[in-house]
Amino acid sequence: MSDQIINFKDALSILDNLSKNSFAIDAWIPSLQKTIKIKELTTKQQSVIIENFFDFIENKSTFSKTLFDIISENCLEDSSVIENLTIFDRACLAFFIRKQLSNKLKIEFQEIPKIEKEIEIDNILEKFKSYTHPKPETIKHSLESVAIEIELDVPKMKQDPFFDNFVYRNAENSEDFQKFKTVLGNAFLAEIAKFIKEIKINGNLFGYNNLYVDDKISVIEKLPAVLINDVNRIITIWKSELEKNYTVKEENIEKVIKIDSFLFLIN
C-alpha cells in the first residue's frame, strides 16, 4: 500500500481530530469519583501558564483563571461537567497536566544547607484516587431571635477567577506595603465568601448564591466573628485533607507543593 501524502491544511485538521480522539487521556476527578477525557496540553498552553507568572506580579490575572481556561479548552466532556469542577479538582488536574511535561518534579525542602529531592508525580495522582472530596456541610448559629444557617461547599473552578479579581483589583494602584496589606485582607474575605454556598436567616433563603462577589463580601463583613471562625475552621480542615495528597517529606521536613506557574517550569 502506498503512502498518502497530506498537504498542510489537511495535516492541521487531521492532527486536531486526533487530539480530540486518539490523544485524549483519562484524568481522575475527585468530586465525581471517576475519570474524564481530556486533551493533552499544547506547547502554546504551557507557555501561557509560564507567562502567567509574570502577569501575576502585575496583578492583571491569576493562575487559577489560566488553568481553568486550559481545562475548559481541553476537556472533552459536556459543558455541565466543566462547570461543576471544583477548586479541589483543580489541584488534582494541575498535577495531572504537569505530569504531561514530565513525571519528575524537583522539590527544594531547605535552602541552606540545600536539601532537594526529585519526586514522581504519579505518586501524588495515586493518592488523589483514594482521597474523599468534601461533601456540603451546614453550620447553624442563633443570635438572640435570629437563626442563621450557613451551607458550605467547595467552590466551583469557574467562580474562582471572580474572587481572585476582587483580591487583586483594589490593590492595583497602591504602594507596595499597602498593596500587600490590601491583598492579605481581601484574600481572607474572599476565601470565606467563596466557600459559602447559601445563607438562611430564620429558615428563609437569603439568595447569597446569586449575589455579585462584592455584595457577597459585604455580607461576610456583617456576619458575627464566631460564625466566621466556624466557617474558617471547616475550610481549614478541608484544605488540610486536600494538601495531604501533595505534601512531601524529606529528612523530617514536610513541604506542601505549591500549585502555581512555577510548577510548570521544567528544570
Partner: protein, 314 residues
C-alpha cells in the same frame, strides 16, 4: 560543455549529487570572498550567500543540492575540497606573543568526514519515535533551515520542527515537512501532544550535544573547535578549507601566460591541471638553466616558482 564526472551518495539525505572539481577561477573567487567578508557575525550571511553562489556551479543537479541536509552539506563540501585541492588541510595558529611557538596542525579531511559520519550515526537521530498512532522521523535540518538555526542560537526550541522529516499517521498517511515553510512546520508541530514533543526534543538535544562534544579532527589541540549547527563554526571551517594564497595563483597565471596559454583557458582549468602545467614550465626552465650553467658549478640549477617569476620580470 561542462562534464560532471563525479558523484556523491549523501548518506543522511538519500540524494546522489553529480559534480565536478572547482576550477581555478572559482578558487580565486573563494579566496576573494574570504577577504571581502572576513570572520565576524556581521559578515556571515554575505559570506554564506557568495560561497554557495560559487560552489553551486560545480553541481549538475542543482535542485537536489538544496534538498540535502546540513550534515550532508558539510560532508559533500569536504569531499569537493579533497577532490579539488588536497586531502590535507594545513593550519598554523598565530599567537600575539611573538615568543610563543606557532602550533601547526595537519587535518586529515577524509578522517574528519569519517568521524562526522560516525558521530551522526551514533546519535541515532533518524530512528523513528512512536506515540499512539503517530510516528515521527527526525533528520538533521535541511540546508534551507540553516539561517533559522543561526537566528535562534539562544533558544533552540523554535528550531525543533526543522529536525522533523515526516510524520506518519495510522501507518499510511504522511505529513512530509520537506516542502513546508518554517511557519508551517511550526504550526503542524504545535498540534502534537506535549508529552510526545518532550520525547522528540530530548532526542534532538541529545544528538546536538553529542555532535558538539565530539572532537571530529582527532587532534588534541583542536578540541576547542566545536561543530555547532547553531553558530557559524562550520562556515569558519569552510573558510579554512577553501582558503588560498591569491598572490601565488596570480603568479601562476603570469607564468602560464608567458607560455602563450590563454588566461580564460587557465580560468577553467582544474586546480590539479594548473599544477601540472606550472610544473611543466618549471621543468622546462630548470632544464634550460642547467644547460646554460658553466661546468664545475655545484648548484643543481633548479628554480622555485617565485624565482621563475623574477627571471621573467628581469
Amino acid at each position: 560543455m561542462e562534464y560532471f564526472l563525479h558523484s556523491a551518495d549523501l548518506p543522511f539525505s538519500g540524494i546522489r549529487l553529480f559534480y565536478r572539481e572547482i576550477n581555478v577561477k572559482e578558487q580565486i573567487l573563494l579566496g576573494k570572498i574570504a577577504i571581502l567578508y572576513p570572520f565576524g557575525e556581521e559578515n556571515n550571511n554575505d559570506y554564506i550567500t557568495a560561497f554557495e553562489k560559487i560552489l553551486i556551479n560545480c553541481v549538475e543537479n542543482k535542485d537536489d543540492f538544496y534538498k540535502i541536509n546540513i550534515l550532508d552539506y558539510i560532508l559533500f563540501l569536504t569531499k569537493l575540497r579533497i577532490l579539488s585541492i588536497d586531502n590535507n588541510l594545513e593550519l598554523e595558529f598565530q599567537d600575539n606573543d611573538e615568543k610563543n611557538l606557532k602550533p601547526k596542525f595537519t587535518i586529515d579531511l577524509a578522517n574528519f568526514m569519517k568521524n562526522l559520519y560516525q558521530v551522526a550515526i551514533d546519535t541515532k537521530l533518524s530512528e523513528e519515535i512512536e506515540y499512539k498512532s503517530l510516528k515521527v522521523k527526525l533528520n538533521w535540518p535541511s540546508i534551507k533551515s540553516k539561517i533559522v538555526l543561526l537566528e535562534n542560537k539562544k533558544n533552540i526550541i523554535p528550531t525543533i520542527p526543522e529536525f522533523i522529516e515526516k510524520i506518519t499517521i495510522d501507518k499510511d498517511q504522511v505529513i512530509s515537512f520537506e516542502n513546508f515553510e518554517s511557519y508551517q512546520k511550526e504550526e503542524v508541530y504545535s498540534k502534537l501532544p506535549i508529552s510526545f514533543k518532550n520525547k522528540i526534543e530530548n532526542k534532538i538535544f541529545k544528538s546536538i550535544e553529542e555532535l558538539v562534544n565530539k572532537n571530529l579532527f582527532d587532534i588534541k589541540g583542536m578540541d576547542w573547535f566545536k561543530f555547532n549547527l547553531y553558530d557559524s563554526s562550520y562556515f569558519h571551517f569552510f573558510r579554512l578549507m577553501f582558503s588560498c594564497n591569491l598572490k601565488q595563483i596570480y603568479q601562476e597565471y603570469y607564468l602560464l601566460a608567458s607560455k602563450n596559454i590563454s588566461l580564460s583557458y587557465v580560468d577553467n582549468m582544474s586546480i590539479p591541471d594548473k599544477k601540472v602545467y606550472c610544473s611543466m614550465v618549471e621543468e622546462e626552465f630548470n632544464l634550460k638553466s642547467k644547460r646554460n650553467q658553466p661546468i664545475g658549478n655545484p648548484s643543481d640549477g633548479s628554480m622555485s616558482l617565485s624565482d621563475l617569476i623574477k627571471e621573467f620580470e628581469g
